[in-house]
Symmetry: C3
Subunit: 253 residues, 3 copies
C-alpha cells in the first residue's frame, strides 16, 4: 500500500501514480492533493492527523517549495511504515506520532532526475515504488541511503499558560471552516456544558456541533484532540475572525 | 469492495480510508467527498443515482449533521449490498433503488467512540471494514445489530399535475449547472424537437445538449431519468434563475 | 488497470466506476475529473502529459461536448495501451506520445445506449471494462470494431521563429497558475541564469522556481518539456497577464 499526499492539485498527482505503478504492484490511496499550498507546517499537521490511521504503508508526501534546489530527500522508517518526502520538516510530526521517538531518518542520494520542477514524479514516486517492492524496507547495504540526524525538524508551537489564560495559535483551518488550535483539548476537561472566553467573548464549550443552534459559535475538541473554534453548520474561521497563524486567547475561569 | 461518500472535503476522508484498511483488505472506491454539505436530501439523491451502478459492495456514506448526538447508526442489507451510515434518511433512496422494497434495516449499537465529532473515522469506517471482512453480511447472532422498522425515512417530493401544467421542484444542481428536477422524464415523451414552457418561457426539448447552440437553454432528460434544465456549454441554474429547492412549472401544451 | 479522466467533476465519475467494476476486476486510477471543461485541446495536452507515465493500461478519457450527437467512439491500440474516448481529437496527442506513429485507431459501434447525455457511464465505461477483461486487446474478429484512418486528429500549434523572436501561445494554465506554452524548452538551452524578453519584458531564465525571490516572475522549462511562465510561490498567469490561448513572444537575444 502506498499513500499519496501533495499540494499539486490536479492532474499532476496522476503522473506520480503512473510512475509508481510502472515499478510497483501497489494499492494506491490518496490522502489529499490539496494540502495547504507550499505551507509545510499546515501540511505537516494534516499528515500527522491522517497517516497514523493507516496500517504499515509507504507514505509519499510532497509539499516542496524548494524543488530543484539542493534540498535533501528523506526516507523515514517508523514502526513498519516508511515516509518519503523532501527534507523540510514535512514528515517529522507524522513520523513522531506513528513511532514516538523510535524512528530513523535516511538521507537519500537521488542522482540527477529528469526534471528540476517535478521531483514528485521523477524522484519521490520511483523511490516510493522501489521501497514498496522491497517490502517496506530500506536496504541496509545500499549506499544511496545514509542514516542521518541532520534533518530539518518541525514541531508545532506550544501554547502558553498565564494564570487563567491560555495563549495559543490557529494551526490550520479545515474545509468546514473549523479553526484548529495548538491547544490540547485537555484544558476543556470538566467544562463541557459551560462557557469559556475566546478572545474575551463568552463561548459555549460543547462535545459536538449540533448541540448549539445552527449558526451559533462553539468551542469543541476536534478529532485531532485539539481545541477547535467552530460554528454549527457554519464557518468558525469567519465567525471568530481568525485564520491560520492567528493568536487566540482562552480564559478558563 | 467498499465505496466511500461524504461531505467531508479533504483530507478527512483519508482518515476513514486508513481506519478501513487497518482491518479490511478491500478495494476502496471514492463516490464523492463533496456531496452537498449537510444537505441530506440532495446527498441522498446522488447516492440513489450512483450506488446502484456498482456490483455488490459495502457503501459507506456520511452526511451527518447530527454527529455526536444520540442519532442512530444504520446498516442496510439490500440485494447483496450493505449500506452503512447515519439514521437521517441518507441511505434510504439508494437502498430502495437497489432492492425495491426488499431491504432490511439494522440499528447498530456503536458503543462509545473515540471522538464525538468524527464518527466517519471512529464508527462508520470500522463498521464498514468489519462488514466487508464478513463477506458483505451482517451477523445474525450479533447483539449489536437489531433489525428495525423505526428508521428515519426520506423520499423525494412528488411533482403535481394540474391540467397541462406540471409543478415540480429542483432537487439538486450538478457541477455543470444542470438543474435536476423531481419530474420524471416521461412527461417529455413525444415532445423531443418541440418546445415546452418552463416557468412560462418557451424552451426547446432535446435529447442532448449539443443539439442547441452554445449558450442556448434547453430541457432534457438527464442520465437519472428526470427532467433537467440545462444550457449547452453553460449553466442551466443561472440561465433559468433556479437553485436547489426552487419551484418550477412546465406547461406541456 | 484502468485509468479514468474526464471533465465531469463530481459525483458522475463514480457512476463510471460502478459500471466498470460490474464487469471488470480492475485497479482503477483517477487521472483527473476536472480537466478543462469541454476544452478538448487543453484536456488532450494533459492526457499527453500524464498517460505515457503509466504502464500498459486501458485509459478511459471523456471530454465530450458532442455527447448524444452522432460523433463516433474510438478505441486506440498504442504500444500495449488502449485508449478509449470520443472521436474529437482528445486521445490523439497521448496516443502519438505513447507509440509515436505506431498506433491503430478503431471506430466502435456502440449501439443504442441507455442515455443520450451520459455516454461516460453507458458507452465508454462498459467498453473500457470489456477491453480490460480481454487482456487489453481489441478483438480482431468482432464486427463492432473497425480499423479506420478517418478520425478527428488534433495537434498543438507550432511556434513560429522570426529572427531572434519566437512567437508562441499559451496551451494551458495549471492549478498553480503556471502558464504552459507550445514552445519547446530547447530554445532556452544555454540561457539559464540569464534573462530573455517575454512580451518585451526582461525575465530571468531559471531551472526551478525557488531560485528567484517569492513573488518574482521567471521563465522555466516545466516537467512537460515546454517553456513555462511562472512566479515563485505565486501565479504566472496573473503576473504575465496571460490565459489559455494567449499569444506570447520570446526575444532571445
Amino acid at each position: 500500500m502506498i499513500t499519496l499526499a501533495s499540494d499539486f492539485g490536479s492532474p499532476y498527482p496522476a503522473a506520480m501514480k503512473g510512475a509508481i505503478l510502472r515499478q510497483a504492484d501497489a494499492q494506491l490511496v490518496d490522502v489529499a492533493h490539496d494540502l495547504p499550498r507550499q505551507d509545510v507546517r499546515a501540511a505537516a499537521f494534516w499528515l500527522r492527523e491522517v497517516l497514523p490511521e493507516f496500517p504499515p504503508a509507504v507514505h509519499l508526501a510532497v509539499v516542496d517549495p524548494g524543488v530543484g534546489t539542493d534540498r535533501d530527500v528523506l526516507a523515514i522508517e517508523a514502526d513498519g511504515h516508511v515516509l518519503v518526502g523532501p527534507d523540510n520538516g514535512l514528515l517529522l510530526p507524522a513520523a513522531r506520532e506513528i513511532a514516538t521517538d523510535d524512528f530513523q531518518v535516511y538521507d537519500v542520494d537521488y542522482g540527477h532526475p529528469r526534471s528540476t520542477t517535478f521531483h514528485g514524479r521523477d524522484v519521490f514516486a520511483p523511490l516510493a515504488g522501489e521501497i514498496h517492492e522491497r517490502g517496506l524496507a530500506l536496504p541496509g547495504d545500499d549506499h544511496r541511503f545514509t542514516a542521518t540526524d541532520a534533518f530539518v525538524d518541525l514541531t508545532f508551537p506550544a501554547p502558553k499558560r498565564r494564570g487563567d489564560e491560555v495563549h495559543g495559535e490557529i494551526l490550520v483551518v479545515d474545509g468546514f471552516g473549523n479553526a484548529i488550535t495548538n491547544v490540547s483539548g485537555d484544558v476543556l476537561d470538566g467544562r463541557f456544558g459551560e462557557t469559556v472566553l475566546v478572545n474575551g467573548d463568552a463561548t459555549p464549550v460543547r462535545r459536538t456541533y449540533a448541540t448549539v443552534e445552527p449558526g451559533q459559535q462553539l468551542v469543541t475538541v476536534g478529532s485531532h484532540g485539539n481545541v477547535e473554534l467552530a460554528v454549527n453548520r457554519g464557518r468558525g474561521d469567519d465567525a471568530f475572525g481568525v485564520t491560520t497563524g492567528a493568536a487566540i486567547r482562552l480564559t478558563l475561569d
